[in-house]
């Protein structure tokens, strides 16, 4: 029998990490405020063509020596989004929050002397960091800044829940979690989960935008933020992109998890509640991808499947840790 002291925790780092998380939340809240103003009052501006928008919309007015005449057949409405200078500032503020988030996770890892995702609190924080990273990526790559408010709302909710109810002091892990599979398996699920979150946020935005479009088609007037969203096709594509990224990672995460389970518990799959629910999420996202290739299912129906998919990911995280007893209940 040997005993160890829990004194391995580096107190300076621990308190730095606790300060950083509060700073990060405040920063995100400021960014959310700015994004919301942009969404509500920004000038509806046509987005430049890019990897997610058909080319050629602006080709007619381009003129060069080549005089290339482009004709793109697209059934889509023009992609417009509310924009103003505040949005850019919001993006900068979000980036600052992201940097604070990275610092928070690093200091927490240093404080505990291990990979900083070993309990629910750390998991939530990492998930939110990935979601914000996804938002930044989408903003720079796809000009999808308009998603800012929609992504930051769940991020702030989750962070609030994390700080208020899930917080534990940094410390070592129970033996079952001491494995190099933590960085592999858990990182994969965190990355996938964060991307699913962005996808779900874009999906919800899509559903609102789609409804706006339907109402407009019926001649109704739609005002407010709902009336100023970008075209549903664009939102759908962003949402789909993030699932394309996340689904293989989730698959890999499940496989890595079963290899770990095989090492730790002597079976690679035992229908433990956590395993059941990650399987359910996997099947739902597979159904989402299928629905997009099935006649009559593309559009809102497929997007609902996507949203349900993220709901199962969250359910898996919160409910399974608290409601069920299983090998995975580390709460």
């Amino acid at each position: 029998m040997t005993y160890t002291l829990a004194g391995a925790v580096n107190e300076t780092m621990a308190s730095a990490s606790d300060t950083l998380i509060i700073a990060m939340i405040v920063t995100y809240a400021a960014a959310l405020f700015l994004f919301a103003i942009e969404a509500a009052y920004g000038q509806r501006t046509r987005l430049k063509a890019g990897k997610l928008m058909p080319v050629g919309a602006g080709a007619a007015d381009g003129n060069t020596d080549d005089a290339i005449e482009v004709n793109v057949r697209s059934t889509e409405g023009e992609a417009k989004a509310p924009q103003n200078a505040l949005g850019r500032i919001a993006l900068g503020v979000t980036t600052l929050g992201f940097v604070l988030g990275v610092a928070q996770i690093v200091t927490r890892g240093l404080a505990a002397g291990r990979w900083p995702w070993g309990n629910m609190f750390e998991f939530v924080v990492a998930l939110c960091l990935v979601a914000v990273g996804g938002l930044l990526y989408a903003s720079f790559r796809y000009q999808a800044r308009f998603l800012g408010a929609f992504v930051l709302v769940p991020v702030l909710l989750l962070l609030g829940i994390g700080v208020r109810w899930l917080y534990v002091d940094p410390g070592p892990l129970i033996p079952a979690l001491q494995s190099y599979w933590i960085p592999i398996h858990v990182s994969a699920t965190i990355l996938a989960g964060g991307a699913f979150m962005v996808s779900g946020a874009a999906g919800v935005t899509y559903l609102v935008s789609h409804r706006t479009e339907t109402k407009r088609a019926l001649g109704e007037k739609v005002t407010g933020i709902a009336g100023r969203l970008p075209s549903p096709e664009l939102l759908d594509r962003i949402s789909h992109r993030f699932v394309l990224f996340a689904f293989p990672l989730w698959t890999f995460g499940i496989i890595a998890g079963s290899i770990w389970a095989d090492e730790a518990w002597g079976r690679f799959w035992g229908w433990d509640p956590k395993e059941v629910w990650s399987f359910i999420s996997w099947v739902i996202y597979a159904a989402y991808l299928h629905a997009r290739a099935t006649g009559g299912w593309r559009g809102p129906k497929a997007t609902w499947i996507n949203v349900v998919g993220f709901a199962t990911v969250l359910f898996n995280f919160f409910a399974v840790n608290y409601m069920f007893s299983g090998l995975h209940s580390y709460a």
Binding site: M1, A6, V9, A49, M53, G58, I68, D169, W181
Partner: protein
């Protein structure tokens, strides 16, 4: 040729739109064909996927026999009315129930029926040449047109250079190009790998076994049926012919966090083993830890848990030692490791047998109100309390080693709190029992599952296939070059993507600008003037700014 045209014109999803119109008066084969078509349609696959997900839900809310038989038994005790009904629908065995099997088997039949014909079509398509160039390129989702001084042959030649990674074919005044064949292959690979995964899992379940046992420090076991406390063989497992290894537990050590919030949480478990793969083999050593199983003879041995086995020495009325061994106790929870156990002494030298129900406290302390509890899982101050019984243990019937059947027995009362070395003299001169020390034990799981590696291989192939499916974009490009009346060459470039329009169109546009650029460079020759004909093809004068995505 006309099929090629249809193929190019129809959006991908539409070809999959299923024709499920009911056959009228077609006879049994017609109906069968109709049923098959329904079963292998995407819509059915979608519904079956949903059922697969929904059907799994009760498997997480209700206790499952695969996870824990004890929990199922508890549920039966707590819900005596409801439980038998649930059981009738296999709700405690969801994942091995006939209805769940029906869902996944239908899904996999549907999958095979859907994917295999696709694989065959695809195999043909891979060998075919790119399709004929359609007459009217302007109708394609992406179409661009420009004029150049270069002659048509040069244009087509350069076009082939631009279309890197495409398979190209010359048709008269045009080049037809296609790429992304791998996507279909990836899709087929993914689905077939899932099928393979299912087969591997089934095979593993039929031929493997899983067994549990307890091993006290200083003890060993041989891998035979009788060594196990519980063993779960597959349908076709030959349990008389298990791998002949032996394992001996030399030492076990658990360490716990001493203080702070996490006080009492386990920090590590280590079991030192010596083992032989077979009686003829050399002895080897292994440090068994939670994430570090022993692999011996194709079988895995895992450390599942641990506990205390207090040692008792029992003497009969005449003072002879009739019992002297460690007895595994089961802990109630892990923070205090307060453990319960039963000592059965069947042979005392006279006809009365002895039985004891004991509680073991590894770190005994007295609370303010005088209650004795354990406040730490490590053995800092081990103490035991016992209740004694005398009479018939009832061992003729099979019974659990953790329960004492007291119906045929007379109570002897409770012991004082025993520290190590203390002895309790039983009333009426019935003898004595000494708490002489303690050992630790480990609970082990022994597993043979031949499916592990095939299942891993199938799953990895599935991921590979999935990545290919999701990220390879099949697309077709045509370039036509015709000399116009003014002597200049009109170049048309058209593109058709099968997946996502926007990204494809952006790429087609890059192809156009690059082709235009190269032609201009070619016609102007090496000593061309003007900064706009700079050699970098990646910064074309882009009319729409389409290739830049930043603001």
């Amino acid at each position: 040729m006309s099929t090629g045209k249809d193929d190019t014109a129809a959006p991908v999803a539409a070809t999959r739109e299923d024709n499920t119109g009911r056959p009228k008066g077609l006879g049994p084969t017609g109906w069968l064909r109709w049923a098959w078509r329904i079963l292998t349609s995407m819509r059915t696959a979608l519904i079956l996927l949903f059922l697969l997900a929904v059907g799994a839900i009760p498997g997480s809310f209700l206790p499952q026999n695969v996870v824990s038989v004890e929990e199922v038994n508890t549920y039966f005790r707590e819900h005596p009315e409801l439980a038998p009904w649930l059981d009738r629908f296999y709700l405690f065995d969801v994942f091995s129930s006939p209805w769940y099997a029906a869902i996944y088997l239908l899904l996999f039949v549907s999958l095979a029926g859907c994917v295999i014909p696709r694989a065959i079509t695809h195999a043909r398509a891979v060998r075919a040449r790119p399709v004929q160039t359609p007459r009217n390129l302007g109708r394609m989702p992406y179409a661009a047109r420009f004029t150049t001084d270069a002659d048509p042959e040069t244009v087509l030649d350069r076009a082939r250079g631009v279309l890197k990674g495409y398979r190209t074919e010359r048709y008269g005044d045009s080049v037809s190009a296609e790429t992304g064949y791998l996507r279909e292959a990836g899709n087929v690979l993914f689905h077939l790998a899932l099928l393979g995964l299912l087969l591997a899992l089934a095979a593993g379940a039929f031929f493997g076994y899983r067994g549990n046992l307890l091993l006290v420090e200083g003890d060993g076991f041989a891998n035979t049926l009788t060594s196990y406390d519980a063993i779960y063989p597959g349908h076709w497992t030959d349990t008389d012919d298990l791998e002949p290894f032996t394992v001996h537990l030399d030492d076990f050590e658990a360490s716990f966090i001493e203080d702070g919030d996490l006080r009492g949480q386990a920090e590590s478990y280590v079991a030192d083993l010596t083992y032989r793969e077979s009686p003829e083999d050399e002895q080897a050593r292994h440090r068994l830890e939670v994430n570090h199983p022993l692999s011996v003879g194709g079988v895995q041995v895992y450390l599942l848990g641990h506990g205390y086995a207090p040692e008792f020495e029992v003497r009969n009325a005449d003072g002879e030692v009739v019992f002297d061994q460690p007895v595994p106790f089961i802990h109630r929870e892990t923070r205090s490791f307060t453990s319960d156990g039963v000592v059965k002494v069947p042979d005392t030298g006279d006809e009365e047998q002895l039985g004891f129900v004991g509680v073991f406290l590894p770190s005994a302390v007295e609370t303010e109100d005088g209650e004795l509890i354990s406040d730490f899982p490590g053995a800092r101050n081990p103490q035991v309390t016992l209740e004694g019984y005398r009479g018939d243990l009832g061992l003729v019937d099979p019974q659990s080693v953790y329960q004492l059947r007291t119906t045929g027995m007379e109570e002897l009362g409770s012991s004082p709190v025993l520290e190590m070395g203390d002895t309790w003299r039983l009333p009426d001169g019935a003898g004595s029992i000494t708490f002489s020390g303690y050992s630790e034990y480990v609970s082990l799981q022994v597993n043979r599952d031949g499916a592990r590696l095939p299942a891993l291989a199938a799953a990895s192939l599935a991921v590979l296939g999935l990545l290919v499916t999701l990220f390879v974009r099949p697309r077709r490009v045509w370039v036509r070059a015709v000399t116009g009346e003014d002597g200049r060459t009109t170049v048309e470039l058209a593109g058709l993507g099968k997946t996502e329009a926007a990204g494809d169109n952006a790429e087609f546009h890059e192809l156009t600008t690059e082709l235009a650029q190269r032609l201009r460079n070619a016609s102007e020759g090496p000593d061309a003037e003007g900064p706009e004909s700079g050699p970098d093809p990646h910064t074309p004068q882009d009319p729409s700014g389409s290739t830049t995505t930043r603001e």
